[in-house]
Symmetry: C2
Subunit: 204 residues, 2 copies
DNA sequence: CGACTTCTGGATTGATTATTTCAGAAGTCC
DNA sequence: GGACTTCTGAAATAATCAATCCAGAAGTCG
């Protein structure tokens, strides 16, 4: 892109990745510009604002980067090639594995980094809330598909099952942040899938 | 009980209650002293520090107050008069009802108000983390009791079931904060209890 | 009344917050 | 080489943060 002018002396993508880890760990408001600039290689304020515009703009950028990389574990929810039950189970299991890995902060950035904040942080809050809403709807769509495809009984409590799996999905994040082992969370998912199976049509 | 000296001209208990609502809504770090002092009836900085010592000390006090009032919904977990299954179910249902009520902030103060924060907020973070750990252990004890009392099969995955119910309990908070209806969460609990039932001994 | 204790109003502290300004450095393009 | 563009280093901005200080007000107690 920028072909002319003085080139910046830091790697922008690397800087975004570093910032992502900080926002993921400490949240949007819990991360300071000093922290960010230091992690990006002690760049100056001028460099920061020239490259990213503002703290919130950078936050949004890191969120996009998160969704593109670590956050993609939930794309299984929309994978039409999979049967509905597998969509839910895979999204949950992959989330659990990712969120308890040690190479990065635990828990999910969407669930944790801007859920609670001061009155001023409302606009950052809205971005993650929208993301969670989209997941909630995708989960509901999986359950609904289970009924429509004749896998679940017609009298299945669609909203109840959906809320269960979404509750577990967001709950994962706090558990992971609290240090609960990935193995335990994975076992919880196995148990949660029994609720689905309880609504299955009898397999003659 | 301060018997002598000039009496303070605001109600300390009322002030703590007001502060609790703010911390509950905006989190420990998301709530400013100006906000707190204003909500407490525009008291001065001097009055604030004379009465509460520091922001963190007040936060801890509001947390105790929360546990004594709204937070007591989870005491069912330790109620030995109830069968283990009911302990879990009641704690979950009461939490869902409380956390989606409109008279106060949604979600749980223990789960939300200090889960994520800056490096400096670690000590406040630790208080709520300890509380969540205690709940996690109480939930595990319920499941274990189910096995020991012969209600659940001996081969029951205790850790898995426990992680499921704890995941749902903390997940509730984010769902409630996202505006998910209490009715939906309650239905999710109904579905979650099917995992318990799936591990029950056959009732001949 | 007078000694004592506690709280309040108001100003102020110093640290930290995100952001801006500007002159000069370091490139590209013609 | 000179015009042009973009980025950097350093300093400064105003706002907000939690917390402190002090003189005086408002009580209790003997």
């Amino acid at each position: 892109m920028a072909r002319t002018g003085r080139p910046r002396n830091f790697d922008r993508d690397e800087a975004v990745a570093k910032a992502m880890h900080l926002f993921w760990q400490y949240g949007y408001e819990g991360t300071s510009l000093e922290q960010l600039r230091h992690a990006m290689g002690d760049i100056s304020s001028a460099s920061f604002y020239a490259a990213f515009g503002s703290k919130e703009a950078l936050y949004r950028e890191t969120l996009v980067e998160y969704l593109r990389t670590h956050g993609k574990v939930v794309t299984a929810l929309r994978d039409e090639h999979l049967p509905p039950r597998d969509r839910l189970e895979q999204a949950l299991r992959r989330s659990a594995a990712m969120q308890t890995a040690s190479a990065h902060p635990t828990g999910c950035m969407v669930a944790l980094s801007a859920t609670i904040c001061s009155e001023g942080g409302a606009s950052a809050q809205a971005v993650t809330a929208a993301e969670r809403k989209a997941n909630r709807e995708a989960i509901a769509a999986c359950v609904k598909a289970g009924v429509e495809e004749g896998i679940l009984r017609p009298d299945t409590d669609v909203a109840g099952l959906a809320a269960l799996y979404e509750g577990l999905l967001v709950g994962l994040s706090i558990q992971a942040r609290d240090g609960v082992a990935g193995k335990s969370i994975d076992a919880a998912i196995t148990q949660a899938m029994k609720a689905w199976d309880a609504s299955c049509k009898a397999t003659s």
